[in-house]
């Protein structure tokens, strides 16, 4: 399985084209979007931090391990870190497989493991005021 992983402070591109892969019958994509509230409070952004080399390595290990049980053709993951405004994508994950069952299984399995094992943290929520101060020149 071909794997691409990025951890970046840049916005995740809104639409990503499906990979032109021979044999792929299913292309499943997930975006985790920062919601405008956290624990019932209105927020304007979340700040994420990652233990970079380990987070990348761990994501790759998880994908390879899951692909051993559910062979797929391609997986691409982009996790954004730093300050992410509400409404923007924090994580993008796309999986191509021959059939939809294994693509969905790999993608949902990956997200479960990511939230358990990959060293990335929501380290704080920012109110609109906090965010404005951060973005001021």
């Amino acid at each position: 399985m071909q794997i691409e992983i990025q951890i970046t402070t840049l916005p995740v591109p809104a639409p990503l084209p499906p990979p032109p892969l021979t044999g792929a019958g299913a292309w499943v994509e997930f975006r985790g979007i920062v919601r405008g509230e956290e624990n019932g409070q209105l927020i304007a952004a979340l700040e994420y931090e990652a233990y970079l080399p380990m987070a990348e390595r761990e994501m790759r290990c998880i994908l390879e391990e899951l692909a051993g049980q559910r062979p797929c053709l391609f997986a691409k993951v982009i996790h954004r870190v730093g300050v992410i405004p509400a409404g923007e994508t924090a994580i993008y994950a796309g999986v191509a497989g021959r059939h939809r069952a294994e693509a969905f299984a790999l993608l949902t399995g990956f997200m479960d493991r990511l939230k358990r094992d990959v060293p990335i943290w929501k380290c704080r929520a920012l109110t609109a005021d906090n965010l404005a101060k951060l973005q001021a020149p």
Partner: protein, 78 residues
């Protein structure tokens, strides 16, 4: 040994990393050294996993001064 702190652990230690001479230690020995430097970390020991050179390790791990050790509190990515 380079020891890394993340997320709320940094609020406790007020630093992102620490250089500590430990010699050759097991997990218990390592924690004793760390808590000695930052007693405020004690309550987090039960929920923190240790990583050595970017890999999770179990309670039977051993560490030397050339290792990079990370304290991994419960993650919340995605």
């Amino acid at each position: 040994m380079r020891i890394l702190f993340f997320a709320h652990l940094k609020d406790v230690t007020r630093c992102a990393e620490l250089d500590l001479a430990c010699g050759d230690v097991d997990t218990d020995g390592l924690w004793r050294k760390i808590i000695n430097e930052h007693p405020g970390l004690e309550p987090f020991r039960g929920s923190v996993r240790l990583a050595k050179n970017s890999e999770y390790v179990g309670s039977d791990a051993r560490f030397t001064d050339s290792d990079e050790v990370a304290l991994i509190p419960p993650v919340s990515g995605g």
